[in-house]
């Protein structure tokens, strides 16, 4: 009996063995969020399916990473952050011709706010928190491309 993890062990083993990322070249992800708890959780979810993960605390740090030549297959970016928010950072990344898939992650429910975020150049927008169910289809899409 595994303490504190009833039913988790078998699903964990199944997920990792079916992980499409680990069978091929590594994929790189950037997690952009001012909340250290979210950075920790989202990084762990992505690492668990084989991503190499970097983190940034705000939009400016994310943009600076791309300016220095860093490349990521996918970016998960929060909407509301100090210094530079997700909307401005996404606009800046697209203006720099960043071709990474950019996925907005927000706890905002307002359709208007999400639409503004999408218009900045997102490929997708998810509600926090990220879950395995939201990430797996993204991996499969990266794998196909």
């Amino acid at each position: 009996m595994m303490i504190g993890a009833e039913g988790a062990s078998s699903s964990k083993k199944a997920r990792i063995s079916e992980n499409p990322v680990s069978k091929n070249r590594p994929y790189f992800a950037l997690v952009v969020d001012d909340d250290p708890m979210i950075r920790r959780i989202h990084s762990m979810i992505l690492k668990s399916v084989g991503f190499k993960v970097e983190v940034a605390e705000n939009g400016k740090e994310a943009v600076d990473l791309f300016r220095t030549g860093a490349k990521f297959h996918i970016v998960f970016i929060d909407m509301e952050m100090p210094v530079m928010d997700g909307i401005e950072a996404t606009k800046a990344m697209r203006a720099m011709k960043v071709e990474s898939k950019i996925v907005g992650v927000t706890s905002r429910n307002s359709e208007t706010e999400r639409e503004v975020f999408m218009q900045a150049g997102l490929d997708l927008c998810y509600t926090k928190p990220l879950t395995m169910a939201k990430i797996v289809p993204l991996l499969e899409e990266l794998q196909k491309n």
Partner: protein, 144 residues
């Protein structure tokens, strides 16, 4: 208590956290699922980060509520952040209390905000106490 009794106590405490609506089982299980040998204390780390987030947000709410006139827009922003934080660990009751607070915010009802703030603090303290006891019991059971 022997090892079996400790394990049963852990499961009982865990089931109570879910059944009494303190925690969302799906979210906690997802966090536990991510814990591995390389990150053996991941769940506790995340919960500690939740405590830090919550302490900061509670202080911000307190400060904002004490200002006159009350800045309901600012309060709504803070509560929105708090709700997001609660969602990450599945802190259901605290999250529901935050939703109630936000309704009073939207109505510009300062008294309602104050009373629901008391509820938020109460639910948060209860959750924190129960989680601390739970993780303490998990450690004891593992050591046994």
């Amino acid at each position: 208590m022997n090892s079996n009794q400790l394990q049963h106590q852990v499961l009982y405490m865990r089931r109570s956290l879910f059944d009494q609506g303190y925690l969302d089982s799906e979210q906690l299980i997802q966090l536990e699922d991510l814990q591995d040998d390389a990150n053996p204390n991941f769940v506790e780390e995340v919960v500690s980060l939740f405590y830090s987030d919550s302490a900061r947000l509670i202080q911000n709410i307190e400060q904002t509520l004490s200002n006159r006139p009350v800045d309901f827009s600012r309060l709504d922003d803070i509560l929105h952040q708090f709700k997001g934080s609660c969602s990450s660990i599945g802190a259901k009751k605290v999250k529901d209390a935050c939703s109630q607070f936000r309704e009073y915010c939207n109505a510009g009802n300062a008294e309602g905000c104050s009373s629901s703030f008391q509820l938020i603090k109460q639910e948060y303290e209860t959750l924190r106490r129960r989680l601390e006891s739970y993780f303490q019991m998990v450690k004891q059971a593992k050591a046994a």
